[in-house]
């Protein structure tokens, strides 16, 4: 069956749309790799991340970034690495860690949307339960939460630019929640 090769389909077909002043774009170019930190292995993992990619271990609810790679705090014994998607990403990370952490590719468990434009933070008041005040949640902050009964990770790239991650299986419902929120915002405040 050499003639068949499998092609990946973006969870939301690579959605790219504007609602009012706000832009939603599926980021199907990113990989998400979970690194579990063994008991008493935090220093070793931190070391590996730093020496291989210059990535400091992120503090809780924060993202550390080096070049095109970022590390998100996931749990007390877990870091999530976000990097451009290439097929060998998981093995690259595994090689870098060389057994110091347990590596699991989570790319396909999540859909990633980038949401940007004036008024995003205000629009998110009707969607995201987190306190997104820039003092509390500056660029480089990331947190897991739930919205409209769906698990989500919100990551702030800039003042008005966020990544939202949610489960790939319910990506459509997630997008629906997001677009409704943004259209309300557009109706209530057309200029963002």
């Amino acid at each position: 069956m050499a003639e068949i090769t499998l092609k990946p389909t973006p969870c939301l077909g690579g959605v790219d749309l504007r609602i009012g002043a706000i832009h939603i774009q599926e980021r199907d170019d990113l990989a998400l790799i979970c690194v579990a930190i063994p008991q008493e292995g935090e220093a070793a993992v931190a070391d590996a991340l730093l020496s291989t990619w210059d990535l400091p271990m992120p503090a809780p609810q924060r993202v550390s970034t080096a070049g095109e790679r970022s590390a998100l705090w996931g749990a007390p014994d877990q870091v999530l690495l976000l990097a451009p998607r290439v097929p060998e990403r998981e093995s690259e990370v595994a090689a870098a860690l060389d057994g110091k952490g347990y590596v699991t590719d989570q790319t396909h468990a999540w859909v990633i949307l980038e949401v940007s434009g004036p008024g995003v933070q205000a629009a998110f008041e009707r969607l995201v339960p987190l306190d997104l005040d820039p003092d509390m949640f500056p660029a480089g902050a990331a947190a897991r939460t739930a919205l409209e009964h769906m698990a989500a990770i919100a990551l702030r790239l800039e003042a008005e630019r966020f990544l939202l991650l949610s489960a790939s299986s319910s990506a459509r419902s997630f997008l629906h929640a997001l677009t409704t929120t943004l259209s309300w915002r557009a109706e209530l405040s057309p200029d963002g």
């Binding site: 990946p8 063994p38 877990q78 699991t104 008041e125 299986s169």
Partner: protein, 956 residues
């Protein structure tokens, strides 16, 4: 009628309909002020006696002027006209009358009032017994109730929102505005919410001055200043309805100009100041409920804020100085004040006339005075409601004749202004300013707060006066028609605790929650009981402060969006290929795939089953929970959470695992595969995926915190397909790259990581739910759609076909595999015939308690197969088993049918079930009795493994 002045925009006219009549008002009007401007006095009917009623107040406390707003599906019953912002085209009708508003047949109740006193219904309607449901109750119900729901789905949308602030100020009257201003200047994040569309509170209703400006102008100016502060958010039309734990406040915003109809905000506030003002109350005197009898403060509101006089001739009845201001303000506008009756000078009203609108009052002296409006002030009750939402009780203050916040307030909440019992303006402004400054200081704000606004204190002296004794009924609760006599009778019958009085008389239980009547009722009860108001106590306030639409609480979680929908990776392909979908938990799964020419679902399912039994079929099984388990101690961990042994599972092997709850009942089952030295992947049932994960986390963090084991849920990461049937190996050999799939090289229960179709990573398991030679193959989710298409292409000549959940069910029932119908949380391993799997050599979760005496009884239930004695008969699930000849009752119940299917291979209906001593009863005939379905069948007990009992096929 309109008089000069007010905050309405007279340059524009707004047209609206009242009871099908077009009328006009102005922007800035409420429906109530516009009705009064149009000289409408009769607006509604009371609950019990259907007494004619008019507008009584000018705010949230309104008991009488409830209307149906809008028409068709948008009809909104019980809407307080006093809070409805007048908009162009607004459509409102009166409610709760049979016949017209003016001629209501149910007003007959009023004539029967002596027989309808408090609690009369508890003492009658008992004979004849059968009449209650058939006659009495339907009659009572039809008469009761207020407005009508449309019966159609609410056409609007509602949002939920989340706000976080340092300081929440509830109410934007003088107190709230001054507090928000100080907080805003200090640099705090402030939310200022007011349920009115116009900030200012009483300042808009009075002729006071602040900072040498008219109060209303100061309020408007201050609101504008606040709106310009970047960290302050001014929220008009937003009522804070409830105080929940740890600084969470519920607030409802009515949005205008687009977006959702309403937004339900959860406000998380470090501190809150309640500046909710006070509510005026009435005085009980005979026939005090007529249209035209209004609160004195409301009369001022209509006059000063809306430029409306409720009538041309107004009398004033008051027990305090505030009421006297009504007379003064009326006179200032040239309205005739027919009488000013001050109870402190011995004045009283002893009778009134005018059935559909007040015409005349009789004074204590016997003098009759013509008046179309009587403005009554019995004093003001601070709006303490929100301070009681944590079940605190207010305290009585004799000097104010009012309850003020007391006891333990919700943490973080303080009270200012009239809500705190500070009844005069200058004092309120100072108090508010100080309170906000204190908050700012406590939260570490460093900017200055400025000076408090200046004003002078008005006089607010009061001497309690509650009711005028005399002939005729004197109303306390206008909406629910509770009179002073009802309260007395309640006491007489032993209902003496204030909460008993409430429940027996329904005092304060109407849509206004007794905002104007509770304190009056208490005072009357105290008098009847011969005790102080303090001893009498109050009933408890509960959220919401004002009623909130159910739709708003639900937000957008309705219709198809009630819960998220999870789609399998092959969903689109399945939809293109004739699938019907079924909800399994949050997932939508293909139930079967229709093909042209198939008459019904059974045809499709039978075909799919046959395909798996004789060829090869594919089913998307992504929905099963998948958990990657990694770590040095992963094996040890698994051995503790599964009842059967897991320590010795070799790399490349898969094992069926039985998971018990700690109480020894079966929790979940699935397979766990060992993909590497420290790497396992566990599958769970679709339904329990989340719960199992949670329990495993509990075990890992709380029970054995030092085991090195890590869990990652990968359910959504892998698209997993079952490839089942004798030709499955042939198909997969074309799919999997460079791997020998022969029985020797890749035997039953083998597993491996591999690649497919020239390089896509995959996981392959040789496991079987159908009992056939079968595999499950997983690829990363985004490849799932491509994968199903590729599998179908690759297997075309093998006549591969997809199968759905229904065929999956048939296959497993034929094989006697337990699933959700059998593993329902009440099942032991023994019942499933898996008792032997529970290892006695370790103390795995659930092992110990699975040994309890009643769970190991010899005569317990066990899983059996069933087939109809008469093979043509169809079995249905849920039937109970009875021994033939036994009576059909609980005492002779012997179990039940859990699952059924039509077996295309056997050509008849088959079932699984739990039967007492089942395993010993093979070949026996029992009754499968299902009276709710009208069925009674004879079935033969057999092995649950209807097909291939030795399991030869899956190993082949």
């Amino acid at each position: 009628m309109r008089v000069a002045g007010g905050l309405i925009d007279r340059s524009r006219t707004v047209k609206f309909q009242w009871n099908e009549r077009w009328m006009t008002g102005h922007p800035g009007d409420t429906l109530a002020s516009a009705l009064l401007a149009n000289d409408i006095r009769l607006v509604g009917r009371s609950f019990k006696y259907h007494r004619p009623r008019g507008i009584f107040s000018a705010g949230a406390e309104e008991p009488n002027a409830l209307v149906e707003l809008g028409k068709g599906a948008a009809r909104e019953p019980n809407t307080r006209a006093t809070q409805v912002e007048l908009t162009s085209g607004l459509y409102a009708t009166s409610q709760n009358h049979r016949g017209t508003l003016g001629w209501d047949w149910l007003a007959l109740n009023d004539a029967l009032a002596p027989f309808l006193s408090a609690g009369f219904y508890y003492k009658t309607f008992m004979w004849p017994k059968a009449f209650w449901e058939r006659i009495y109750e339907p009659t009572i119900r039809a008469a009761a109730g207020l407005g009508r729901l449309s019966g159609a789905p609410d056409p609007d949308s509602y949002a939920h929102g989340f706000l976080h602030c340092d300081l929440l100020v509830i109410g934007a009257g003088s107190a709230g505005l001054a507090a928000a201003l100080a907080g805003g200047r200090a640099g705090l994040r402030v939310v200022l919410a007011d349920e009115d569309f116009q900030p200012g509170g009483r300042l808009n209703a009075e002729q006071f001055e602040v900072d040498d400006q008219p109060g209303a102008a100061w309020a408007a100016e201050t609101a504008r200043l606040l709106a310009e502060m970047p960290r302050v958010r001014v929220m008009p039309r937003t009522s804070v309805f409830g105080v929940y734990d740890h600084g969470t406040y519920g607030a409802l915003e009515r949005t205008i100009g687009g977006g959702p109809r309403q937004t339900l905000w959860k406000i998380q506030a470090k501190r809150a100041l309640l500046a909710a003002g006070a509510t005026e109350r009435s005085i009980a005197f005979p026939q005090n409920d007529r249209p035209g009898i209004m609160l004195a403060g409301a009369v001022r509101t209509y006059l000063n804020r809306f430029g409306v006089a409720p009538a041309g001739r107004v009398a004033v009845l008051t027990n305090n100085d505030d009421g006297l201001r009504t007379a003064a303000d009326l006179r200032a506008r040239g309205i005739e004040v027919a009488a000013t009756i001050d109870t402190r000078e011995g004045g009283a009203v002893v009778a009134t006339r005018g059935r559909q609108g007040l015409r005349e009052i009789t004074l204590a002296s016997g003098k009759r005075v013509k008046a179309e409006c009587l403005a009554v002030s019995g004093g003001w009750s601070p709006n303490v409601h929100l301070t009681c939402h944590h079940r605190g009780r207010p305290v009585w203050r004799e000097d104010l004749s009012a309850c003020v916040p007391g006891g333990a307030l919700p943490p973080g909440l303080s009270v200012i202004g009239a809500a705190a019992g500070t009844m005069t303006l200058a004092a309120t402004l100072r108090e508010a300013h100080l309170a906000a400054s204190t908050v700012a200081e406590a939260l570490g704000a460093t900017q200055g707060v400025g000076d408090p606004p200046r004003a002078s204190d008005e006089s607010a002296a009061i001497t309690a006066f509650w009711h005028v004794k005399g002939q005729g009924r004197a109303w306390v609760d206008l909406q629910n028609d509770v009179t002073t006599k009802d309260i007395a009778q309640s006491h007489q019958e032993g209902f003496r605790a204030v909460e008993h009085v409430k429940r027996y008389t329904t005092l304060g239980m109407a849509t206004d929650q007794g905002k104007t009547s509770n304190v009056l009722g208490l005072a009357i009860l105290a008098e009847v009981a011969g005790q102080s108001i303090e001893q009498t106590g109050t009933t408890i306030f509960r959220p919401p402060y004002t009623p909130v639409a159910i739709g708003a609480f639900a937000g957008r979680a309705r219709g198809k969006e009630f819960r998220p929908t999870r789609l399998t990776p092959s969903h689109h392909w399945a939809a293109e290929n004739g699938a019907d979908f079924v909800e399994t938990g949050l997932w939508l799964r293909a139930q079967w795939f229709r093909r042209p020419g198939e008459a019904g679902w059974r045809d499709s399912v039978d075909r799919e089953v046959r395909t798996v039994r004789s060829g090869v079929g594919i089913c998307d099984v992504t929905t099963l929970g998948k958990i990657d388990i990694k770590g040095r101690d992963a094996a040890e961990f698994l051995d503790r959470v599964y009842a059967n042994a897991f320590l010795k599972l070799a790399v490349g092997k898969t094992r069926y695992g039985l998971m018990l709850r700690e109480d020894g009942f079966v929790y979940d089952d699935g397979t766990t595969a060992r993909l590497g030295e420290h790497h396992y992947v566990m599958t769970t049932t679709t339904a329990n995926a989340g719960l199992v994960f949670q329990n495993l986390e509990f075990a890992r963090q709380c029970l054995w915190p030092d085991l090195d084991v890590h869990l990652v849920s990968v359910t959504d990461a892998w698209a997993q397909f079952s490839v089942a049937g004798p030709r499955s190996r042939a198909l997969l050999s074309r799919v999997v790259d460079a791997r020998d799939l022969s029985n020797e090289a890749f035997p039953f229960m083998a597993c491996t990581e591999c690649t497919v179709f020239g390089g896509t990573p995959a996981r392959l398991f040789r496991i079987s739910f159908s009992g056939e030679l079968a595999y499950e193959i997983a690829v990363p989710t985004r490849f799932g759609d491509s994968m199903i298409r590729a599998l179908m292409t690759a297997g075309e000549d093998l006549e591969v076909a997809p199968y759905g959940t229904e065929a999956l069910g048939v296959l497993r029932i034929e094989k006697g595999h337990a699933a959700g119908n059998e593993i329902n949380g009440q099942t032991t391993a023994r019942m499933l015939g898996l008792g032997g799997m529970v290892s006695k050599k370790k103390s795995a979760i659930g092992a110990k308690l699975s040994e309890r005496e009643e769970m190991v009884r010899e005569d317990g239930l066990s899983l059996v197969g069933l087939r109809p004695v008469s093979r043509a008969v169809t079995l249905t699930a849920g039937a109970h088993f009875l021994a033939p000849g036994d009576p059909a009752d609980m005492a002779h119940d012997q179990g039940w049918m859990t699952s059924v299917a039509y077996s295309p291979e056997l050509g008849h209906s088959i079932g699984l079930g739990f039967l007492k001593r089942g395993t010993e009863r093979m070949g026996e005939t029992v009754r499968a009795y299902s009276p709710v379905r009208g069925e009674d069948r004879l079935v033969e007990v057999c092995s649950p493994h209807h097909i291939d009992p030795e399991g030869v096929r899956q190993r082949g």
